[in-house]
Symmetry: C2
Amino acid sequence: MGETFDPATLRFNEAGLIPAIAQDHATGEVLMMAWMNAQSIAETLETGQVTYWSRSRAAFWRKGESSGHVQRLHELRYDCDADCLLLMVTQTGPACHTNRRSCFYRAVRDGEVVELMAPLTE
Amino acid sequence: MGETFDPATLRFNEAGLIPAIAQDHATGEVLMMAWMNAQSIAETLETGQVTYWSRSRAAFWRKGESSGHVQRLHELRYDCDADCLLLMVTQTGPACHTNRRSCFYRAVRDGEVVELMAPLTE
C-alpha cells in the first residue's frame, strides 16, 4: 500500500511554481521544461492532458490547445527534494514552438553551436 | 560552420541562475535537476566535470567532489528560449543524495505515491 499523494508536499517557489520536465515516455527524449502551479498539476492529473502555467502570459497553458500538439500524461514523477517534476508523456507532433520535436535542439560542441534537429514539416 | 557559443545569450533568472537537467547519455534516464550560473557553466565546459551552483549553500557544487559520484559532461544542450540547459552526462554511481540512481524515484499512480527504485548498495 502506497501513501496517498498530497500535492501540498511539493515545494513551490516564491511565485507558487514548480519546474516540470517533459520526457517522451517511449523514446526517453527530453522534450521541454516549463512551469506548473498547484492547479495546473491538479488539472493535469485529472484530465491526463498536460497543462502548464505560462509565466509570460500569466495564464494556464493547456499544451497543444491551439497547435494540436498535446501531451498525454503517462506518469507524473517528482524528485528527492520535491521541488521538480518529471512528466512522462506521449507527445503529439513537435513539442517545441519552433516545430522541432524537442526544445533542446542546440548543442555546444568545441565551443560552437550545433543544431541537432530541423523543424518538422507537416 | 556553426556560430561560436556565447554564454551571454543564455537567459539567467533574476538570481543569475539557469536550471540544468542532467540526463544519462547512455540510457536516456533523467537523473536530476539543479541550477547553474555563468561561472559554473564555464567551469563545466572547461573541465568536462559538471559543476552546479548550490542555492541552499550559496556555493559552487562540484558534483561528486565529496561522494565521488561525479558527472562527466558529454554534451551541453539548451532550449529554444535559452532559459534551460540539458546536460548529457556519464554518471558515476547514484546521482541522488539518497543513493538512488535518479532523484526522480517517486511516481504518482492512481493517486498514490509509488517508489520506483531503491537506494543502491555498494
